[in-house]
């Protein structure tokens, strides 16, 4: 587990300040996609080896949702970006 995360708003902080939601690559299915697809989306997760993108909430800091790209083997953090701003195509 990465122990230091560099928040784009707050700078380098320990992982204790964050809450991890999980996989940032999931696409929400259509409402009528069927029970199997929804079951998969809600409950089934991959356990990737290597690069992985996750949603992290800086819950004891700026309270922004971030996307953390990290390596599950080396624990290296490759990038941290603001999830909402990234969605809007902005910087930071």
């Amino acid at each position: 587990m990465a122990s230091l995360i560099t928040c784009p708003h707050c700078g380098q902080r320990p992982k204790e300040e964050f809450t991890i939601k999980g996989d940032a690559g999931l696409a929400r299915p259509a409402p009528d996609a069927g029970a199997d697809v929804w079951y998969d989306y809600v409950y089934l997760r991959d356990n990737p080896k290597g690069l992985h993108k996750e949603y992290w909430h800086h819950s004891s800091g700026c309270r922004r949702w971030l996307i953390v790209e990290r390596d599950t083997v080396t624990h290296k953090v490759h990038s941290v970006s603001d999830a909402a701003l990234a969605k809007l195509g902005g910087a930071a």
Binding site: H9, R13, E16, E17, S60
Partner: protein, 172 residues
């Protein structure tokens, strides 16, 4: 209304500490306003000046969020003036009743704070006027460096006693 609770400062009765190495004191429960919106600090400062609040301090409190703090309690008229001085899409939330300010200062203040928070408090990384939202132990705090050896902490009212007593125990 006999059952109406009377407002009492959250840290009334907590002893202040004042030694040559460290000083700890609860600050007056004046005003603490949270400003949020797609604007910038200079615009917030202009708005508080327009509302006659030149003595208030503006502090960064996260992305596009600021706290406006001061020792004076504000009238609802002043709050309305400030609200209307803010640009459209910028909002004010009066948190005066919900958050408490604590002052910690002295040559040992940095060392004491670094026992509870992971924020780098070196002068170069955390200069005067800089603020950070972080944890002190398990408590969420907003921390500001006011001077070389002086800090202010803002904490949710219901956690104020716990934080104050922890700081007091560490400092004494």
């Amino acid at each position: 209304m006999p059952d109406l609770p009377t407002l009492r400062p959250a840290l009334a009765g907590e002893p202040a500490l004042d030694s040559t190495t460290i000083a700890l004191q609860a600050l007056p429960e004046g005003h603490l306003l949270q400003i949020m919106g797609a604007t910038e600090r200079a615009v917030v400062e202009a708005a508080i000046a327009a509302a006659g609040l030149e003595g208030s301090d503006v502090r960064e409190a996260g992305y596009r969020q600021w706290y406006v703090v001061g020792d004076k309690q504000l009238s609802s008229k002043t709050l309305r003036e400030l609200t209307s001085a803010l640009p459209a899409g910028t909002f004010l939330s009066d948190q005066s009743h919900g958050r408490v300010r604590i002052r910690l200062s002295g040559p040992h203040a940095t060392k004491l704070l670094s026992t509870g928070t992971a924020v780098d408090l070196h002068d170069a990384a955390f200069p005067e006027g800089r603020s950070a939202i972080t944890l002190f132990g398990h408590l969420s705090v907003h921390l500001t460096r006011k001077s070389a050896a002086g800090f202010e902490l803002i904490v949710l009212r219901s956690f104020a006693e716990a934080l104050y007593e922890e700081l007091h125990a560490h400092a004494a």
